[in-house]
Amino acid sequence: MTPNPILGCGIGLRFQHIDQILAEKPPIPWLEILSDNYLIPGSVQQDYAIEIAQHYPVTMHGVGMSLGATDPFNSEYFLRLKKLADQLNPAWISDHLCWTSAHGWVSHDLLPLPYTEETIKHVVQRIREAQDRLERRLVIENVSSYLQYQLSTLTEWEFITAVAEEADCKILLDVNNIYVSAFNHDFDPCRYLDSISIEHVQQFHLAGYEDKGTHLLDTHGHPVSDPVWGLYKLALQRFGALPTLIEWDNNIPSLEELLAEAHKATEAHIHAFA
């Protein structure tokens, strides 16, 4: 069955809002479901996700594939993800260009990769394997970062472009993450945008960061900041009015407030081409 199309500006589904959404069925263009919260087959959590997917177009977004790790893939994780996808019929599945596991330990946090030719080869092979396991093309997201490795010989935009090209996957461009990393590593975010090939980008993320003085921290706990709205406008002009999603994970606001933030993104779509 062809998934419902993802158009316009959606929101991330958060547990606090599920009952309200199911009861009121407000007009929401689409919802992003955090796969990792719904991976127990036959659980009540999955029932909620399935019910949401019956009423709204959805995508699945995860943090647990550990695409950049060197330890073997967790097969159970992929099996459950595939099963969930069979039930939700998402337009696509995304995860991050990063790693979350090593040594048998799992960080549950998105850790950056060293940007080298060797890492490209490794990650490309991993993404291909993940795509085979899930029987679909993946969408990979740029993470925000707070460190750069001595080993790195490439910029992040060179790295992500090469990976997407060679792995034949799509890119979820997180505009806030670009801004956060640009500040933290002192590069020009516009240069980043201009270097990403237009045909690879499938979706945008927007979120709020926290200014820690010495660095910006990607907390997803605030409204989208003005400079990120500015960068988003440039992104729309370069890549077109692609589906956009507001992420909010801490200090989660009311559904109305969250939808108002998504509405701002819709307005940016309109004004970007005015």
């Binding site: 009540v44 909620y48 647990g64 946090d109 850790l111 080993l151 590593h185």
Partner: protein, 255 residues
């Protein structure tokens, strides 16, 4: 340096503070932050994610011991037992044992009892759905088959027998509960038996009388109907009807 070694070094620093300096050697020093501080940001964010999660699992314990103590204990727990599964909901059962062994809690082990209750709530919520038996079928069974009947509680059921009134303490910390007891009025020496189970999208938590507790416990040990009749004698019909009415019995088997 191979990717494997780099990742092992960095993840070690996330869960072992004394590995920070080693991992920092992999990282460029930039601007006003040292490489060690940069690795430290990741240690903080990893710990922060797990702390938020543990706080969401154990909200009453958090209230009882305070944010400061809870945070310190949670951080040392994470370092001692880092997550090993990509399924976050699997993490945190060991926190109860960790609390039980904590020297500062040895005179307040009732707090650990509350932690057991909170883990049971989490586990019950995440238990997979099951199909209830059709109890109308009981009517068609022969007397011999009836004697061999065994009954099951919902798969999500947790029976907890505690030397402390965990249900009352838990209630005292529920904001939305109108007639909640006040913590200072609760007698911490009072024992309580508690049942937790999930019924579709509702989590039930209730105290049990000594009789109901004994009955459900015997059921859970897979006693047959004839064994139940022997143990509970004339009380059995009453115990049974209460358990059925409350949804404590979910299925039966005849073999």
């Amino acid at each position: 340096m191979p990717l494997l070694e780099l990742q092992q070094s960095l993840i070690s620093a996330l869960f072992q503070r004394d590995q920070l300096a080693e991992a920092a050697k992999l990282v460029k020093a930039q601007g006003s932050l040292s490489s060690e501080q940069r690795v430290g940001i990741y240690r903080n964010s990893t710990h922060g994610i797990l702390l938020d999660y543990l706080e969401s699992l154990y909200p009453v314990c958090l209230d009882l011991v305070g944010t400061e103590f809870f945070g310190r204990t949670a951080h040392s727990f994470m370092d001692q037992a880092p997550p090993t599964s990509p399924f976050l909901a699997d993490y945190g059962a060991g926190f109860v044992t960790y609390l039980a062994e904590h020297p500062a809690l040895q005179d307040m082990l009732w707090i650990v009892e509350v932690a057991k209750l909170e883990w049971a709530r989490h586990a019950a919520w995440h238990t997979v759905n099951q199909v209830a038996s059709d109890f109308a079928q009981l009517e068609g069974l022969s007397a011999a088959q009836q004697a061999e009947l065994r009954f099951q509680l919902p798969a999500s059921a947790h029976l907890i027998s505690s030397s402390t009134p965990i249900h009352s303490i838990w209630l005292a910390h529920q904001e939305e509960y109108p007639d909640k007891p006040r913590l200072e009025e609760i007698d911490l020496q009072e024992a309580q038996q508690v049942l937790i189970f999930r019924e579709q999208r509702r989590l039930h938590q209730t105290t049990l009388s000594a009789d109901d507790w004994a009955f459900l416990n015997t059921l859970q040990q897979q006693a047959t109907m004839s064994e139940l009749a022997e143990q509970f004698a004339e009380q059995l019909p009453w115990l049974f009807s209460v358990a059925m009415q409350e949804g404590w019995i979910y299925s039966f088997t005849t073999d």
